[in-house]
């Protein structure tokens, strides 16, 4: 059954761009702090131990992720059909789930010293690659069109 109602977000022309600003600031904070730890694992940037650094920055990463995960669904709700059918959006959601699961399982284990340090560089590369791909997929949403059937 289709429930017809107006999304209050679509009432104001300003709501979408303002939410986008929160979305951008959120991913900048989250991905920025994640990248600093990944760079540490790769051997450049900050020199505090990767485990301590990850612990120090974790609240900021989480804060950024919360901003993104609150603003994202609200942006989605403005035009669900378009997003749902958009190939780039579909790829982004798969990558996002993978990235979050990877972040809070394998990467976290590594940073707690529960995995071999030999995995430092592969894990850092996978993490950077996943988050960068999400940003790319997010941008491409606006440039991908699925023709009406």
């Amino acid at each position: 059954m289709l429930i017809a109602f107006e999304n209050p977000l679509n009432e104001s022309a300003l709501a979408f761009p303002i939410l986008e600003c929160f979305h951008i600031l959120g991913f900048a904070i989250a991905v920025g702090t994640i990248a600093l730890v990944d760079f540490r694992l790769l051997g450049f940037g900050l020199r505090q131990s990767a485990g301590e650094l990850a612990q120090a920055l974790a609240p900021w990463t989480l804060f950024g992720l919360i901003l993104v995960l609150l603003s994202g669904p609200m942006l989605f709700s403005s035009d669900p059909d378009m997003y749902y059918l958009n190939l780039s959006f579909q790829i982004k959601m798969v990558l996002l789930v993978l990235a979050i699961v990877f972040h809070y399982t394998i990467r976290r284990k590594l940073l707690r010293g529960q995995l071999s340090p030999g995995l430092n560089k592969p894990v850092a590369c996978i993490s950077l690659l996943l988050w960068t791909s999400i940003i790319f997929a997010g941008i491409f949403i606006a440039f991908v069109v699925t023709p009406e059937t």
């Binding site: 951008i24 991913f27 900048a28 920025g32 900050l46 920055l57 991908v144």
Partner: protein
């Protein structure tokens, strides 16, 4: 040559036209711009929050500032290079764009911020380690830096929301999209 003529000339160059008309390259540069923003934001955020005493308090200010100096420069270089390419591909349109003008004005403020604070705060971090309490000037520098960069990110997003003044533009606009079959 006026600023408008300069903008028209840049937008008319072969590579600027190519960028504007490309289905994949333009969004790829835009995505690189945003990836650069994330990398740069991480370094700015941690540097300024350390000066404000919010994160990594067990690490000396000078260590954090100096170790992040090169990552910060590289991040800025990525953002600025991609930003320049994006701006030049639509230079004439952006000449009229209020948000684009505001962004340029904010970037001038960033330059002024650097002139005022670089010597006494960011290049003087060793002295900040010695201070019993973080000097007011350093706190002010960190707070202003955060406010400036957050404003620039938001104003930058605004650029895309202004309709190009079609009656004034000379170059053809891009309407190319990537078409994905179902």
């Amino acid at each position: 040559m006026s600023a408008l003529e300069l903008a028209q000339w840049i937008q008319g160059t072969g590579w600027a036209t190519y960028l504007r008309m490309s289905a994949y390259i333009y969004p790829a540069i835009l995505a690189s711009h945003l990836t650069g923003i994330a990398l740069f934001a991480g370094t700015v955020l941690v540097t300024d929050l350390r000066i404000l005493g919010v994160v990594m308090r067990n690490q000396p200010v000078s260590g954090v500032v100096n170790q992040l100096r090169w990552p910060k420069r590289i991040g800025f270089l990525i953002v600025a290079t991609c930003g320049f390419l994006l701006a030049s591909s639509k230079a004439e349109e952006y000449y009229y764009n209020t948000f684009f003008r505001a962004k340029l004005a904010l970037l001038v403020l960033v330059a002024i911020h650097a002139l005022v604070f670089r010597g006494s705060v960011y290049n003087n971090a060793a002295a900040l380690d010695q201070a019993r309490r973080m000097p007011g000037k350093a706190r002010l520098a960190a707070a202003l830096s955060l406010i400036l960069w957050i404003s620039i990110a938001c104003v930058g997003r605004g650029i895309g929301y202004i309709e190009p003044p079609l009656d004034k533009l000379h170059a053809a606009l891009s309407s190319i999209a990537i078409v994905v079959p179902r």
